[in-house]
Symmetry: C3
Subunit: 342 residues, 3 copies
């Protein structure tokens, strides 16, 4: 990891955790229960790994109070949410050399761009006219910050991020490589026998503490902005169309897609490869399971699904063939029912 | 917007529209009905926003003839298709400074590449051997035009576009950041216990007036070319496999995928995250709804679907469990039916 | 193609094939049966193209022994697997000028990076601290090899590939443009009312002879590595989450997604846009058809599906509406059945 060390007691004090066992035990890193070594701390969040507590060679393990008394386990750190405590402890051991402020000589900065003295601009970045890079922001190699874009304080574009035009990132936003924010929305009008392009005059607004995954795309709005409120978390390869609005603290898993002008609430969880059709509204605290297609607005918190069940293809093909005639089948049942109850 | 201004009468004349109200009214931009201000024009295409006409503070609004007489509405511009008229008017107010022709000093141009004097090559572009950039073409920052690729006249690669090899773009083609055209098709042959790669010797041919979205991928053909005819419109994150052929004026929404050698007709509309299996044919004027999997060729124009309906997970799980035994259920119904009608 | 020529007899000897017809016939390239010309060789692997054998103007065609005696066909090369033989022959005609070793003057190489003298680093590449580029490795334009990454001998990053951090590629690995390997896994812990990021401390390990498609993403592991064993073949726009493990010789088609910590066996075939949920296990030699969602572990080899059948929307809507009440329908049938058999 990064050469730092703590005692179990120091960790407990820092993060307000209980201790069961030898608090002087030295910790220099984190690992899984199965592979942790003599100076590493692990955690037990998922009960199905509980058996590993007995055999783990970890120096210490973060557990719930209910698991604090297990015989033969390593030193225990007791947390109300072991995964949260683990995340905070792991961050101590993350090796990330802070880049020094300044502009790499190979970067190309437009005359009217404003780069804070505390910002760091990596090799081969391009910053275009009217762009603003605020204090403590970090651009890794190959980033492009287009016209009239703002990168907020302490935000980090890991590398090869593209902000096309009129994109404003808040503070502490993290964007992974290949993400494209602020490309034209997909706006077309059909005139007689061909398409004409509808200008996309809006922008993109990303709140504080958002995270945007690798190769995710977020288009500019047509007239108004596409908006992510604060602490929205997007995984990789997600597509967010123009004028979508996503509420604070919503998290979306990889390969999901949200069509134009959809409005998603706060604290939602959207599963991988799920789809949300355009102009719909999804309430706060809605969970959508993987590969579900949301075809109408969801007004109430809850969990929603549509993905078909998997089977051996040989069986599935028979059932799928029946789906194609399900309406007929239902009518036949209704007819029988009527007949048999007369 | 961009400092230009028109009167309503000037717009009407330019685009052959009717006027109801004060033609001297000054217009300096476009906006939504809900947010348009004193010098902005809006439009009403979707009837469910009609109520906003009464309260809109827009200077003018583009409507169908049927909506021309509404009391209390702003000045009206009357169009047979308000959205088309809006697209054209909005384009007048789009601020896009034309890049000056020439090659940015940081771009790297191979000795045998041919760059038209009227083309503009942005910072940190790479143009490889045998590539041709025609008159009026614009390459934004970080583009890569690989060996033997052609960028047709007036085409625009917004930024960070990759043309790998043997890709020919027609005229006025627009390609968004992160798009990769001309990568190897996914060609593999299985020999005993391992894969061997099948060389991908074809190219990619993109017709005039096509648009290719951010992070969309279009692979080179195996032996012949992958082809998009003219005016094909692809949204973001679409995957077009080797040797696909897409007919003119077809539009495809985000995250759709077309497998190898599929042939899609003209004037089709393919919904988001739809999939089309390899070697299939889809007729002209076919609409595929979102997340549909096209598993057999479609010979007739029409609309096709396969996505399951969404429900609360609690209900969905019960129904999904029944799908797994639907064939049995159908057999049972047939047996009952036979019994009850004997 | 590339100016090289062989006789049919030379090809037969090189790849241990039979010949029927004139072995002196000269071959300078490959093509499809439908379009092959006087000096080109084609192949017949798919029986539905057999009729084209009679009309093909190919100089020679690679066929199975069963097709060797067809009257009127061109000279035949006889192979146990014509597609495999074709792949090998086509490779002879692939034009790929080997880049000369050395570092392009525009590339930016960190002081502690180690570049083998036999490696070739293209224009505008960035190689960061601690990275190793082994002998014969080729980086096309715009590649980024991040901290502590290794590119194994003879591997090729076609162009614009991003290796973020702690990514180790084996030998002869081929990575296409836009691929991002080693970005942070999507690890979040929810604390009261907001997300906190879980550090992603693992890496990515890619075995020998793997191929990674354009715009595909493979995240770093949280604590341990994300692993692809040797000869794994990934198409474009695939998402591989943190800590996934994929067995040797497995091939995955475009737009598929594998969630965190899933373990996929050897010699699997995963169809396009399929999804595999997190923490599942898939046995060796499993085939998953396109757009299937794998919702539970698969313990036995075989083929598995879940995608619904496509219909005209008008019919589909009726059937889909019935799916929403399938459980009820099944209960009604059970009730009738009970009634009718009493």
């Amino acid at each position: 990891m990064n050469g730092v060390a703590f005692t179990v007691a120091e960790l407990a004090e820092r993060f307000d955790l209980g201790v069961r066992g030898d608090g002087t035990c030295r910790i220099t890193g984190v690992a899984t229960l199965a592979h942790a070594g003599a100076e590493q701390v692990s955690f037990l969040a998922n009960p199905r790994y509980r058996a590993q507590l007995q055999t783990s060679t970890a120096a210490a393990v973060i557990v719930r109070a209910a698991d604090a008394d297990l015989e033969g386990a390593p030193v225990r750190l007791i947390a109300s949410d072991p995964y949260v405590a683990f995340a905070k402890i792991a961050a101590l051991f993350e090796h990330r050399p802070a880049p020094s402020p300044g502009v790499h000589p190979s970067a190309i900065i437009a005359a009217t761009a404003v780069i804070s003295a505390g910002a760091s601009i990596g090799p081969l970045c391009v910053v275009e006219d009217g762009a603003v890079i605020e204090d403590g922001a970090v651009l890794g190699a190959h980033c492009l910050v287009g016209r009239d874009c703002t990168v907020g304080a302490q935000s980090r574009l890991v590398a090869r991020v593209t902000l096309v035009e009129r994109v404003r990132l808040g503070r502490r936003v993290l964007v992974h490589p290949g993400a494209v924010l602020g490309a034209d929305g997909f706006g077309l009008a059909f005139e007689r026998d061909h398409w004409i392009k509808v200008p996309q005059l809006g922008g993109v607004r990303i709140g504080d503490d958002c995270e945007i995954g690798a190769n995710t795309t977020i288009d500019r709005g047509a007239l108004e902005d596409t908006v992510l409120e604060e602490d929205v978390r997007l995984d990789n390869q997600i597509q967010i169309a123009h004028n979508v609005h996503i509420g604070a603290h919503t998290a979306i898993a990889g390969c999901a897609a949200v069509a134009g002008s959809a409005r998603i609430g706060r604290y939602c969880l959207i599963g991988g490869a799920a789809g949300i059709l355009g102009h719909l509204t999804v309430a706060d605290r809605v969970t959508i399971t993987a590969m579900t297609l949301v075809t109408h607005s969801i007004r109430e918190a809850g969990e929603y699904s549509s993905a078909s069940p998997m089977q051996e293809s040989r069986l599935w093909r028979r059932n799928a063939a029946r789906i194609r005639h399900l309406d007929e089948l239902a009518r036949r049942v209704a007819a029988i029912d009527k007949g048999s109850t007369q």
